[in-house]
Symmetry: C2
Subunit: 256 residues, 2 copies
DNA sequence: TAGTGGTCTAGACCACCAA
DNA sequence: TGGTGGTCTAGACCACTAG
């Protein structure tokens, strides 16, 4: 065969579509602007709606679009940087930035958490629920697991419940003097309860941040926080790597 | 109508399916085991293949499954923890763990990177490509941007190319003495070139880690690393939050 | 070459929101 | 109530891998 099959990998339609749409977003749309609806867009590009949706899903995953049922698809603002490390912030100290205490109750933690805490399986701990709000938008839901041993001043089984109880646990934890932490980040999908708090649908992509708080070398508490992956950029370190987005990974590097 | 419509939110099929499959994975399958094919599974559960795929996609996103075209769907091992912060590791110093230098070349960085570096737009910098391998599997692809000003010992326009050149840049950067860093993590999707390095399809979910290296208060270099989101758990801090996975977020908390 | 997952279509109906 | 995105179906064909 004389036809030297050149390396023409047929690019999937949705991939090409995504590229075209991304360029259009950069040049022809303003943040918050509402796009034509999916049926309209699909027709305009001559593809099935499912294919169009595949492209939109990717763009939403990358934080470029926001879709809401019954409303429409809008151009998303750049991701907000939320500080999750080093800086004195997740700690107690009243009114620390943008955490909102929800409530507290004793319960048996998942086995993996108990392992991290070094508590007996089946042993109940204080579970404090908090949500984090930035710019009026909910960005994270957190469960903070505090073994009774870490807050001896509080009655183990009969701690005050609700927001006051939660604040009491946090205050006690602060008195303890935390001297270190340890974090891990991984991708997950929102459970039903988390989704509701984050104003997303179940299954939405989230960044799960697991933090271990230390005091005198021992694990004093464990926090599992789930951040909206579409709207958040997690920052570690003091200065906070302000401003920068998907653009850092754009083309234009044009290697020589 | 006497039927008081109780708050029965009809759970989507794919969601329920995902739950069922997740339980089956925990109880009936071993890591690496291969699942029945999609058509078979769809038939077995009495759903369309697309619906079944929606469930599989979520499980893959959560790192529970691994799917490979032409091969099949297998049960994924737990995510590997990869250290990305604090510890002296991304830095030069020969043979530092699991980074593999690919090459180096001068090129004009994306505008957002130039802004971080504080270089003129259009000014070329050294771009070092590295990949990170853990347990024989590629986990990350990195582009390290180093302005000529940070490595004055190297010829700006005519630096050695290829792996030797890359190592030269890294060595010079090490001599400089970095005294701080600054990181951000966000969700992205793999570009075509990254996908190839990571042995995934384009569009695969990745965790993008942007690191700013400081020396004497100035930004000496910027690294943009993309980690496979399906197989990696990024760890920050010294001890590394060993061992723990999706389990930390499982049910069983059973609030009181 | 047979079997896998990946892409794509053209429909349908449903849940949600705003007017 | 009309319009939006979300779910679901039952097909088809393609790209890739392995034997």
């Amino acid at each position: 065969m004389g036809t030297t099959q050149l390396d023409t990998v047929p690019e999937p339609k949705y991939w090409h579509l995504k590229t075209v749409l991304a360029e259009a977003l950069d040049s022809e749309f303003a943040v918050g602007e509402i796009l034509p609806n999916e049926r309209e867009l699909a027709a305009r590009f001559g593809v099935a709606r499912a294919t169009l949706r595949q492209a939109l899903e990717q763009l939403e995953l990358e934080g470029r679009l926001q879709r809401r049922r019954g409303v429409g698809t809008t151009v998303a603002p750049p991701r907000v940087g939320v500080s999750v490390g080093s800086v004195q912030q997740g700690r107690p100290g009243a009114t620390d930035g943008d955490w909102e205490v929800a409530d507290s109750a004793p319960a048996v933690p998942p086995a993996a958490v108990a392992r991290l805490l070094g508590t007996e399986a089946g042993e109940p701990v204080h579970i404090v629920r908090r949500s984090r709000v930035t710019g009026g938008q909910p960005v994270a839901a957190e469960l903070l697991y505090v073994p009774p041993a870490s807050v001896p001043a509080l009655p183990a089984a009969d701690a005050p419940a609700g927001p006051p109880g939660a604040r009491a646990v946090l205050a006690e934890l602060g008195n303890l003097g935390l001297d270190g932490e340890d974090q891990a980040v991984e991708l997950g999908s929102a459970r039903a309860d988390e989704a509701k708090q984050l104003d997303r649908l179940p299954g939405a992509p989230v960044l799960v941040v697991t933090t271990r708080y230390f005091t005198r070398g021992r694990t004093a508490a464990v926090a599992v926080a789930t951040y909206r992956a579409d709207t958040c950029r997690l920052t570690f370190g003091d200065s906070g790597t302000v401003e920068l987005a998907h653009e850092t990974r754009d083309a234009g590097a044009s290697r020589v």
